[in-house]
Amino acid sequence: MTFRQRHLALPVAAAIIAGCIAPLAVLVAFSFYEVEDFDLVPAFSFRAWGELATSTTDWFLIGKAVLSGVATTLFTALLGYPVALALTRLAASAKGIAIIVLLTPLYTGEIVRIYAWRIVLGGEGLINTVLLGLGLIDEPLKFLLFSPFTIGLVLTYNNLPFMVLAIWVSAEMVDRRLIEAARDLGARPVDAFFRVIFPLTTPGLAAGSLTVFALSAGEMLTPNLLGGTSGATAMALIDNLFGTAFDWPLASALALALLATLFLVASAMAGLLLRLKGARAMIGRT
């Protein structure tokens, strides 16, 4: 066997198998175990799967994870695309600074960010105080904090850098001369965008979408600490089942169901995005 470029992926593939597939196998085994007197007993029981199948709460939370992932992907794509394009137009020195600024939110810890949002969005927070002071509102806007709005806003904010980076890399690789060629052939700037720039950046859009979906669908802290009554997540439930409730079989079954669902949705997204003409031509090259 001669060494080829694709063999460079072997070490990481091995790590993924050891660190991901193996624990999953353990989860599969646990999901058939039984719990007796707060002790996990090996068995071949369908109790946990049966409970999961009939639970509306569990499936509601899995659906919510999918929805939150898809919505965040959509928002970050819409907001991030113009930012990524703008980045490509900056001078090289300004680009470095812009990228660092873009990533600033990621340098601060998640907990710090969450409490900062509470200060900004709270009833006596920055936004409400300013709006009250200006006389634009008579009482604090309640929906700003501890609501689905908050979850959407913060998830979008947290994940925006990943989307922008992925699209930016893709947009940088679009040869400026292709845009000139399009203009030369009669394309107005808007035509050049939809016929040349957008198709050629779909690989970046696909990479960004898959990343943001994976990160936001599994997010637990943000909904939990900023979502108030609407902050319940499948992740938090799994955490609770593993810990306080000590129902490892059900926790395992729920975790596997969530994983399988997210995997299916991500595969569908990938299939859809990579079938776009631009992505096919750019990735299909050998």
Partner: protein, 364 residues
């Protein structure tokens, strides 16, 4: 009435065959001046080449005609319509790019159809695409993607894409520079034939003087953002306007001297090779410093009567069909071609066809 209308017709200006006119066009990038006030006329159906070393401003001129750069000063008109506020997509001008710039996500057919698809309401696009591809012998490659084609094939597709909308003027930016010598030769012949057949004016940019001579009706030699000479290839070759043009074209030896005496079209120039009488550029007078241009083919090792210089061979380069030899004569390195190789250090007698050499200005 009849007489009157005839009179009117006579006073009308003659229909100018002028397609593009540039007047006093200037373009600066930061502190450097890329194009320094040029006047350029492109007649209908002409094959005009902008020739010069890299950085002479030739590509900037092309990009201003295409609309990718805006002149800082001057006037540009196409068909007597000012181009100043016309964006690239509305100019009846198309470009063949040096890098081809084919759209990688579109097939050959879709690349060629690009401009027609944008306009809408154009009948029978597939047939026009096919005709355009046939013109460049690429009709069988319509379903391929650009990355599946060789450089020469990509260039043909780029040409097909740029002529399908029947532009008034086709701009070509060093279109053959990335190809090997043989393919370049083939495509030169095809481009010239295509230009004749289509009757479209071509403005062609190159740094290769052989290519410029092979293709062009008019060659415009550029130097430091200015036009050094604009003429047909024969004139550029035999009567270079100044020492820059003479040096850029071919392997000529330039010998500096002072004009002793000028008589109408010939002058005698005093050089370190001695006094030589040759045709002279306009505007040079007795006493002026000037440059004698000796092209390699004007020197021979045998000649009748007027044998002129003796020197020593300093270098001999085998070039296939001939040898390019360099000889030192009175401190001047003379280059000439010979069938037989000659050893370095050997003495050599050279005969100069002075009647076909040229005395020109020293470039600023």
């Amino acid at each position: 009435m009849l007489v009157e209308s005839r009179m009117e017709k006579r006073t009308e200006p003659a229909l100018s065959p002028l397609l593009l006119a540039m007047r006093g066009v200037v373009k600066t990038f930061g502190r450097s001046t890329a194009v320094d006030g040029i006047d350029l006329d492109v007649p209908e159906r002409a094959f005009l080449t902008l020739l010069g070393p890299s950085g002479c401003g030739k590509t900037t001129v092309l990009r201003m005609i295409a609309g990718f750069e805006t002149p800082d000063a001057g006037d540009m008109r196409l068909d007597n319509t000012p181009l100043a506020d016309v964006p690239p997509e509305r100019r009846p001008v198309n470009t063949v790019f040096q890098s081809y710039a084919l759209f990688p996500h579109l097939t050959v057919n879709e690349n060629v159809a690009f401009s027609l698809n944008l306009r809408g309401g154009i009948p029978d696009i597939p047939a026009r695409v096919r005709r355009s591809l046939e013109a460049v012998h690429m009709a069988d490659f319509g379903d391929r993607y650009p990355h599946q084609l060789s450089g020469g094939q990509q260039q043909r597709v780029a040409v097909a894409r740029s002529i399908i909308a029947e532009p008034r003027l086709l701009l070509l930016d060093e279109p053959l520079s990335a190809l090997d010598r043989k393919m370049r030769g083939h495509l030169q012949i095809e481009l010239k034939a295509l230009q004749r057949r289509l009757g479209i004016a071509f403005v062609y940019v190159t740094h290769d003087q052989e290519e410029a001579f092979a293709l062009s009706d008019i060659v415009v030699v550029m130097n430091k953002g200015r036009i050094a000479q604009k003429a047909d290839p024969q004139t550029i070759y035999s009567r270079p306007a100044d020492s820059f043009v003479a040096d850029f074209i071919g392997n000529s030896t330039l010998v500096e001297g002072r004009i002793r005496e000028r008589r109408s079209d010939v002058a005698t120039i005093g050089t370190s090779l001695g006094d030589i009488t040759a045709p002279v550029a306009d505007g040079l007078a007795s006493g002026d410093a000037a440059m004698l241009v000796i092209r390699p083919e004007l020197l021979a090792t045998q000649g009748e009567g007027k044998a002129t210089f003796t020197g020593t061979v300093s270098n001999c380069v085998f070039q296939g069909e001939r040898n390019m030899i360099q000889a030192e004569v009175a401190g001047v390195s003379l280059r000439f071609a010979a069938e037989a190789p000659q050893a370095a250090g050997a003495p050599v007698s050279l005969w100069l066809d002075a009647d076909h050499s040229f005395i020109t200005r020293i470039a600023a």
